[in-house]
């Protein structure tokens, strides 16, 4: 059995167990959220020993080189010493400066970072509260903006989202990241872009749309936003205004039920692929509900888009307390 020491204390670890599981069992309150290597909130630093195989997947090279590993992916096979203090060095601080409703259940959360953060429009950050609660959100603002904007769906029983909904303006959080592959490539300036997402999957698409326009994108840009009903749509007026002032931009709000003016009724994937039977030569951005994103990714590929031209970050919702812990 490998010997594990965390911040100088010995922690029992069983064969095949992840660092995160071992630490939580031992009562070490390591922040965590997705448990699948996406949110990177359970980052720890290896101070002695080798990073376990596969424990640095998706980490930025600078973090990997410093010996950071993801607790949920690290399954120690050899003796290991880790530090959780050092993980704070991989974060920056931020102050919540505004919480504004965008729709029935989505709020715009604006956070002022304590130092400039380098990111691509459409990537995501992990927000960590000081009690260790962590959630990942796509950045809806553009690099250079004074604030980082996030679209947060307020979920019943959602610990982080309910806290945001209580408008904790002035509170400090830690920010880790950015990560994610869903961003605009200026080399694609003449290619047609298809941006499709459901719910708060609009956040990265909004960022990619504006980033593309800022880069003087010349090809057509088609944004399709799906929601269950018209009340689930948001930023409708703003997107119609963008489409109205840019001849190469079109915007299609889609709902499953409850037709209103200028809204398409139908499942988002059916609307997208009803419109595009051939996606060869297109850049496709897919965000939101993971099942739908996987389905659309497959359909986009079958419709001729190159795999390298399909940018998809499926949202991961935190497991319900008690289910996967």
């Amino acid at each position: 059995m490998p010997a594990l020491r965390c911040d100088g204390q010995s922690v029992p670890v069983e064969a095949g167990e992840s660092l995160l599981e071992a630490l939580l069992k031992a009562g070490v309150p390591l922040p965590h959220s997705c448990r699948a290597g996406a949110c990177q909130s359970c980052l720890v630093k290896v101070t002695a020993g080798e990073p376990p195989a596969g424990s640095q997947v998706g980490l930025r090279p600078a973090l990997a080189q410093q010996g950071f590993v993801l607790g949920c992916l690290a399954r120690p096979e050899h003796d290991l010493e880790i530090s959780t203090d050092a993980a704070a060095a991989a974060s920056i601080r931020g102050t919540i400066v505004g919480v504004t409703p965008l729709s029935r259940d989505v709020v715009l959360v604006s956070i002022s970072p304590s130092e400039p953060l380098s990111y691509r429009a459409g990537q995501f950050l992990t927000v960590l509260r000081d009690d260790g609660l962590a959630r990942s959100y796509s950045i809806a603002s553009l690099p250079g903006s004074p604030y980082l904007d996030f679209h947060v769906r307020v979920l019943p029983g959602g610990r982080m989202s309910q806290w945001f909904a209580s408008a904790p303006v002035g509170s400090d959080v830690a920010l880790r990241g950015p990560n994610g592959e869903c961003f605009y490539d200026p080399a694609a300036v003449d290619m047609p872009l298809v941006l499709a997402g459901t719910g708060t999957g609009l956040a990265p698409l909004w960022a990619v749309l504006h980033d593309a326009l800022r880069h003087g994108h010349r090809g057509p840009i088609d944004l399709l936003h799906g929601a269950r009903d018209p009340e689930g749509l948001y930023l409708v007026d703003a997107l119609e205004a963008v489409a109205g002032t840019h001849p190469n931009v079109s915007y299609s709000p889609c709902v499953l039920t409850g037709s209103v003016e200028r809204t398409t009724v139908g499942a988002l994937d059916d609307v997208v692929f009803g419109r595009y039977s051939n996606l060869a030569g297109h850049q496709v951005f897919l965000c939101g509900d993971p099942t739908l994103v996987q389905k659309m990714k497959r359909r986009a590929f079958l419709a001729g888009a190159r795999l390298a031209d399909i940018h998809a970050d499926a949202f991961v919702t935190a497991p319900k307390p008690g289910v996967a812990s």
Partner: protein, 120 residues
């Protein structure tokens, strides 16, 4: 000249991966074996496979082929599915301009791992 270079090397593999993978997903005879897989990881595996059967530098081993396909064998993967793979392989290479003789050599390399793939 080695087969891999004749076929266009790494650049040809990059072109072949998307075409090959798309044909497999669109073919009802084999599509079910790709349900629920991570498409980017799958594409990386297919790239390794295509590099090997096109005679390129690889470190693919029989053991990889066995462990990688064991779960599929229990779901019914058999010789007919390997035949489908080789059929698509030929069609992709033809699309990329390979000769029948070259396609024959690639098929022979693919056939050399048939028993590993099918856990025999």
């Amino acid at each position: 000249m080695a087969l891999f270079d004749e076929l266009g090397g790494a650049a040809a593999v990059d072109k072949a991966v998307d075409i090959f993978y798309r044909r497999m997903l669109a073919d009802d005879r084999v599509a079910r074996f790709f349900e629920g897989v991570d498409m980017d990881k799958q594409a990386a595996k297919q790239k390794a496979f295509l590099t090997m059967v096109m005679g390129g530098p690889h470190n693919y081993t029989g053991k990889d082929m066995r462990t990688g396909h064991a779960g599929l064998v229990s779901k019914g993967l058999n010789d007919t599915h390997v035949d489908v793979v080789i059929e698509h392989l030929g069609a992709v290479l033809k699309e990329l301009g390979a000769t029948d003789a070259q396609i024959g050599q690639v098929a022979a390399l693919a056939n050399s791992v048939r028993n590993d793939v099918l856990s025999r």
